[in-house]
Amino acid sequence: MALSREQIAMRVAQEFKDGSYVNLGIGIPTLAANYVPPGIDVMLQSENGLLGMGRYPHEDELDADMINAGKETVTAIKGASIFNSAESFAMIRGGHVDFTVLGAFEVDVNGNIASWMIPGKLVKGMGGAMDLVAGAKNIIVTMTHADKHGNSKLLPACKLPLTGVNCITRIITDLAVLEVKDGAFHLQERAPGVSVAEIKEKTAGKLVAADNVPEMQV
């Protein structure tokens, strides 16, 4: 069965290594912070200028000057640092952030990603996404395998305006974990009970799958 948003977030959290600096995009990526495995510590970077983002505040802790990149009120952990936007993106662009997790409209077999614009329909702006995909060491894309009309979001070539080129190496969807290399999606894991055939059918870009593809542990 396809994973829930929470289950995708759980699987994402398994990627983190102890001592990782992690930037989480809005949506499913943000949920991953709730499922970091025991024994693993990560420090969250929020690109508006906060390293060591903590939990949401209680009512009496609310502070308009303390927000995250999603403009939500947050707190800081002990040992956090706060800095300006140029410094924040120096960290990101300079490759000091270990993991970036973000959503996407489309990803293709060459590791290209489109996530910020649907011409004529939706213009939200790229925010920090272009910097993040150009800078982070490991980028994980999380998304549903297909859009709500059933169209595959894993393509031979992205059709929408790109966020970055040749930058995506790992994708975690509601159906599968995939690696992107050599011009193909390589199936690493499948959602419990989901067949390789189903994943193949829902992947428009070239899919490479071994005979035995293990199930995700979520």
């Binding site: 939990r55 308009a64 927000i67 939500e72 300006n84 140029a86 939200k124």
Partner: protein, 235 residues
Amino acid sequence: MSGFDKVVSDYAEAMHGLTDGMTVIAGGFGLCGIPEGLISQIKRMGTTGLTVVSNNCGVDGFGLGVLLEDRQIKKMISSYVGENALFEQQLLTGELDVELTPQGTLAEKMRAGGAGIPAFYTATGYGTPVGEGKDVKHFDGRPYILEPSITGDFAIVKAYKADRYGNCIYRHTAQNFNPMAATAGKITVVEVEEIVEPGELDPAHIHTPGIYVDRVIQGTFEKRIERKVTAKENR
């Protein structure tokens, strides 16, 4: 040291010299750390044809969003339109010229502008619409695009405290784009929560040295919260 006293007493004096068609660089991220009173003053002045450089354009009815209502802004240079309906509408109808710029590139363009660096190479945006028409150069086999810096006729900045010489500190994440904006204005105006005497701020922890600042004004702030989210768990 009266020659270094940057404090002005009213908003008219703070924004004196702003005229139609100028470029204004504004600090702030969403509604966090925005110079509320300086924005109101620009609305009051009715200056038009402005190019505004700011990560966001506020929200409908608050922050820089209020300058969209009277069509005072000709062009926005921003990374994020977000949920500002009027911004999105004026963008889609073509009424407003919008140069969408990646957030990190935008911050670096302001910093470079203030630091006398006319352009820098970055991988951000290569191969995307942002990179179109820009000079490409390879370093260590990887392609980068050349991004020009940004300076403004005015920079409007929100700080927490400033001393009379214009030395500023920011509070929490209200820092964001403010320090870069402060360096990049021909005239930099800082609106603060509290003005203190020189010597009260620790020299080693000043975020914006006074050399970048031309005018300081004491403001009052609503500090609206865009997305109030609270902890679900009990303590």
